[in-house]
Subunit: 138 residues, 4 copies
């Protein structure tokens, strides 16, 4: 699939006393980028979650490798794509560019999380509907 | 080494619309726990960074596996320890317990980041001083 | 009423490139402190919200005055108390101390927010139950 | 002056268990919008702070009134402008629109914060240079 692209202006608000992006912020951006990718494919979470009786697309694993910094004032781009669809789980790959250089690579493994009828606060893995997967074909 | 323990009360502020902890928050807690572990070993960052001419202990890699949720009102504990000291890099392991169950396991690979005299905004890897490593022996 | 006290260790994670607490974090702490105050009075939000059919205690107004900084490594204390109970609204006052000095004073005006039966995503103001107010008498 | 406009897509990442924007996030957006307004006027903080020997534009007061919610998927706009220039202090006004309705009004009172030569971690108020103020005339 064609990667989704999200442009971000790094602000003072994103940086820590070392004057670089505070690293958990990259995972927040991964989450935003995954949500925007679904939205761009016609699956906004605010509609997708209730229509599929979902609690969310909860995380199983999250990883990131940091190859270079970003500082406030930088304009960075996150490219995101689904690297793999399994039965109940999917893998989102992320790559962040800063001024022509790859600075972060990351991966989120996410579960298709249905509401659990037995537990109002719970979540159980469900099979990802084929029409959802079909939306991510180019 | 004996793991450092940090008790956290999960607040509404930590949770997302799925009513569980927003996952990047776990990485923020890893960062806090690493800092507190140094502090508990007599190395508060506010003193350690200037005295060793450091910009910080920047991330090379960060990973987490999520085995269960935490919700607002839960009291969780993060255990953290240095799993490995290399020449310029060290590995911090994190394990989060919620009500007797391990819910998150994570790892941060961090570099001993000296200020770069050639670049006021830069950072270069330095050899970790032996007296720092010695502080983490029990 | 006796103010609720919450001790906070300021971490690197809380600070911005000016090396002081990033100011929106103080409002996050106000929110945490309000929630903890309710919990300490026997009203944990995770139980109070469903039992009173509430969406939350949404904000009407929030203000803060900043008289001094806090830096990572500082140990600060937030004192919080309900300054006023109106019919459907209450006012939470916050005062933050750092090393014997008041550094922040703030106020949150919050509404008792019931779920709106006509709108699953909505919220409507409800009368604060007298037994809730009674819990905050000393 | 013509207000600066910043369009924001509200994400899942911005919302709390009540499924609306977690209120301290609005102050984070005020901070971002203030920084972007300076950038749009030719004063990016990454250059302005060192060139004027500043630690930052620290907060004296911050206030917000909340008139309506925003939810994930909403597209909101923050309008920001300087309402008043005093000798060492300036006032930034913010107004947030959601779907044609004003949902938040806020104000930040900020000080022109110079580095304090007597205290490397300190900040002292300085007179705002007239050429800075001139940049905000239309």
């Amino acid at each position: 699939m064609t990667p989704h692209r999200l442009d971000i202006v790094v602000d003072f608000a994103d940086c820590d006393p070392a004057r670089i992006v505070f690293y958990p912020r990259y995972f927040e951006w991964f989450d935003r980028s995954t949500e925007r990718m679904f939205r761009a494919r016609g699956l906004p979470w605010a509609e997708m979650f209730p229509s599929y009786k979902m609690a969310g697309v909860a995380l199983v694993d999250a990883t990131a490798s940091f190859m270079g910094p970003a500082r406030f004032g930088d304009r960075i781009t996150i490219e995101s794509w689904v690297g793999e669809w399994r039965s109940k789980v999917f893998v989102v790959e992320h790559r962040i560019h800063n001024d022509g250089r790859i600075i972060v690579e990351g991966r989120e493994v996410r579960v298709w999380g249905l509401r659990d009828p037995k537990d109002p606060e719970g979540l159980k893995a469900g099979v990802i509907p084929p029409e959802v997967i079909a939306r991510f074909r180019d």
